[in-house]
Symmetry: D2
Subunit: 342 residues, 4 copies
Amino acid sequence: MSHKIAILGASGYTGAELIRLIATHPTFEIVALSGDRKAGQPMSSVYPHLRHLDLPDLVTIEDIDFSGVDLAFCALPHATSQAVIRDLPKDLKVVDLSADFRLRDPEAYARWYGGAHQALDQQAEAVYGLTEFYREEIRAARLVAGTGCNAATGQFALRPLIAAGVIDLDRIVMDLKAAASGAGRSLKEHLLFSELFENVKGYSMGGTHRHLGEFDQEFSAIAGREVRVQFTPHLIPATRGILLTNYVSGDPEAIHAALTAAYAEEVFIRVLPMGEVPQMKDVRASNFCHIGVVGDRIDGRATVVAVLDNLTKGSAGQAVQNANLMLGVEETAGLMAAPVFP
Amino acid sequence: MSHKIAILGASGYTGAELIRLIATHPTFEIVALSGDRKAGQPMSSVYPHLRHLDLPDLVTIEDIDFSGVDLAFCALPHATSQAVIRDLPKDLKVVDLSADFRLRDPEAYARWYGGAHQALDQQAEAVYGLTEFYREEIRAARLVAGTGCNAATGQFALRPLIAAGVIDLDRIVMDLKAAASGAGRSLKEHLLFSELFENVKGYSMGGTHRHLGEFDQEFSAIAGREVRVQFTPHLIPATRGILLTNYVSGDPEAIHAALTAAYAEEVFIRVLPMGEVPQMKDVRASNFCHIGVVGDRIDGRATVVAVLDNLTKGSAGQAVQNANLMLGVEETAGLMAAPVFP
Amino acid sequence: MSHKIAILGASGYTGAELIRLIATHPTFEIVALSGDRKAGQPMSSVYPHLRHLDLPDLVTIEDIDFSGVDLAFCALPHATSQAVIRDLPKDLKVVDLSADFRLRDPEAYARWYGGAHQALDQQAEAVYGLTEFYREEIRAARLVAGTGCNAATGQFALRPLIAAGVIDLDRIVMDLKAAASGAGRSLKEHLLFSELFENVKGYSMGGTHRHLGEFDQEFSAIAGREVRVQFTPHLIPATRGILLTNYVSGDPEAIHAALTAAYAEEVFIRVLPMGEVPQMKDVRASNFCHIGVVGDRIDGRATVVAVLDNLTKGSAGQAVQNANLMLGVEETAGLMAAPVFP
Amino acid sequence: MSHKIAILGASGYTGAELIRLIATHPTFEIVALSGDRKAGQPMSSVYPHLRHLDLPDLVTIEDIDFSGVDLAFCALPHATSQAVIRDLPKDLKVVDLSADFRLRDPEAYARWYGGAHQALDQQAEAVYGLTEFYREEIRAARLVAGTGCNAATGQFALRPLIAAGVIDLDRIVMDLKAAASGAGRSLKEHLLFSELFENVKGYSMGGTHRHLGEFDQEFSAIAGREVRVQFTPHLIPATRGILLTNYVSGDPEAIHAALTAAYAEEVFIRVLPMGEVPQMKDVRASNFCHIGVVGDRIDGRATVVAVLDNLTKGSAGQAVQNANLMLGVEETAGLMAAPVFP
């Protein structure tokens, strides 16, 4: 059995990560790669580390014949993605890695992304791609919206706690440390090596980061009331990885128990023994997410630390996991590689 | 005019940083350097970057004649420091960079450092070395206790807010990112390049970090009631620098105003315009501390970000600033070098 | 079909890398892991990134029952390795990752490693493990000696050129840049993060690096005369990877042709188009080696650049590749993961 | 006494480094800063680390009144610089940090830089700015051409050897490792953090790097015959610093003696004891250059290693040193800060 795969926007980091994962996938076969500005080039010019693979050259999306394609990953920039997906064949299975279909409420979309959505029909049918919590919907979906990488990390840490009612919903503080690849291969001054090296900086301060739209949507839905978290991401001098430190009010043991119960059957989410916390590097280049809980010296306070690789579990790995479900393949296919350490 | 300076424990990073700063100090002259395990070696063997300086060889403390010494910097490990300082000439001015004399209450010391203090007389006379807040006491002091580098950062950010009564004292969350040199030149597995590179990890989780003893002591004294903060330090892949993100409840404008007022006359503490935050690298290798305030989307919440270089303003720079006061030199002497960027 | 695998010395970086590779190997099953100082601990304590694997706890070598073991990887320190292997069952297949069995001549061994060999019988039977050049011998071997990671890199670049007679054997200059993990997890000052970060340093200068013993042995054998190269390794601020710049005298086109011909059928060795050179990161965490050739403005000079991952193709990957041959498994089994980029 | 200084092109890294050095210079006072694209902005917006300094806002060059200016540093891009300097007042002292006036021969300029020089009169009067070798000419010069940072490193290592006739001029191999800031603050893909981190790559391979024009000019002039070196620069994951490994044929002791003699009276150039080599970090953020020599196991071969900070001794520090000479100030003024380590 083989599944024909197209990747739209293959010249970015998530595109490259999809190819890396699919390279050892038992049933996926890449039949088309698009990269508008680099159309006509072989992939090995754009990403020489993929030189050993027999890949199709980059083409424009218009030049792809989707008739034989089983599933398309869409790794295009935000806004571009919705316009492209709107015009794809209506029966083509699609996993979108952009932000375009994450928010269900068109008004929330417009507020966080600064403009009206251009593909409301598709937005209405899109399933939110946080696999461990939307597994059945994803299995049946035609269009799955990959989550934000920060949003995934935060939800893995906090959804079970909100669902179990073990933390104070008005006192959630989330301090996130994110590696540079989350910002993609774009040419921005603060992403230059000389700027980021030996540096740490907060960004999207004060509750302005767009992934808050996902937290608002999801956490409020679980809680059955409006939940607003205080969230600050920081850019750190690393390439891959997210470490999220959550400061919560609640009983540490109950918190640990809620997480342990929620993920008892999950392959990719690992809850550490009480009192231990993961380090960012423990999941590098893998589809795993590690979570730890520590009680504070202040009674009724706890710290919940979650780590994942933004390009894998936070993006392309999640996408492959969802595609596996959509195509009826073993959910873990192509995703069991151990983290790369050191 | 010249001041004869001895540095005890010159083979560690803070020792090297003291020498770096004193190298261009207008009145300080290094007359003795101790380094027990490396006694007999020239400094250029231990730190080749100091090769151009005409420095005395390392000796044991016993071999130092303190009669002509105006001031000794003590950069020894914790616990060792108190035993050494107890036996130094009683009229010798001393700036200690260890943790040994930071806590005024012997019981608090015993609790945080796991044993009874061995130099209670000296502990009693020691002045807490946070220059901007203990300036007059330091000027008159014989023995000054350098603060913890994390403790300094947190106090620069929060003391004015506690003093002004503009934040909720029971809702302070401090998330700190610290570079590796704060842990010194010690051979520990987690400090290896291959371990820390591409990594972030929390440590002393759950309110167990010893610098909390300083926060407890100082914040409670200012507030006139017990204050307990929730504090998590993280080790980041950088050599120098601390970035501290403080999550507080209070009016952002009032918070910014309190900081601006507190530091209006300070040379080394710079409060950024409202809504701007500093990045860690902005103060590297300098004695400056930058602080910024951002209001949150949640009413009555704010984020206060402070950065400094742990080896300079957080340790050796602070020590030189205090020594300047103790010796009647211009407070900023030797400390006005601009940060190194990039 | 399943092959029972033991790893001796599993607590070092090459041990961890072996486990990472074997985790997705189709036939290898780890049945025993030794780690003398950490005997009794679960692997997840030593390497939390392997938490998701069902691995045996660490034991001492004495506690391993080798009767059911098909092959042992020996990732012990130099000198220890020969003593251990000498005492293993004589019919146990062994892939040694140490330096102990690389040099065929006992005198050469004694000269480079500073003492007489303790397992001369085993040394006599050991096959040099540079797979692409000793494939048939390895297939038939009981004991294979993994090459030095630097030695592998240099031989991949230069063996075909010496064999083809296209370069001046007396004018070979090899400038190597090596990441820190090549030095293992040992606690040495120069391997501390704060020392290596923002640094580059030459080591084993002047022709004293032990991998020169391998170059001498192999290059001289190919040339049929004594060959001595000028070789300087440099430690660079990276975790994984080697980039070797070879300066040679010869016709650039002939050099490129010799490499292209030599590796035409090789899966893991990729020769770039004439005039292109690889970057270190292009092969990270993979078993690939990329080689490029550029002619110089000076007639008759060329630069040959080779890159590989020291822990994978330079050590554990090579070891698995050799084990595959020894056990009659597909040579590439478990080794086709694409490089991790960025 | 005070000297009025203008910096043209202050928004790049060398501009920022000039300001950093001048910040503690005893006689230099910055009166004008230009930055065309950022004209109108305060320097603290472009470089927040300079926030504590009282600096003029950025203006366009046209808006600068040069009548009261004693000396202008020109830190503009190549090609732009010659057009600007051509139109400056003819009696204004200028230190140019670009490549525009380094090559004396207009044909060599055209060949290496791909076009005719636009300011031949100024090119004719320009003095090559390698201070230690052109000190008297610089003292008398109106226009000094700062050297390339790589070119400076190579000349410090090799000029004395060529002059003393102790090495084979036809067998010089120079392998250079350069940190990213040498490429400036420009937005290029290979300078992104995610690309350079955990990477090393050669560039301008095969004798195409423009600094070879300087080596050709200077080495040939010293030797009295044409000298062509084989030179490959590599980009390494660091911000500041150059480490150059020179492979030469000659007697190691004679080589060491020639270097020692040449730099016996120099403050900034330090030759290490025979057999020792410097590491890159030993001179970071300083105006020092360290050089070491090691003999090879091959008779008549040696390795000469030189390190400097590309932004300081390789560019802005050299420029200040030259300006000191041109203005009759102590040559070392503002330049004696010790290296920053770790």
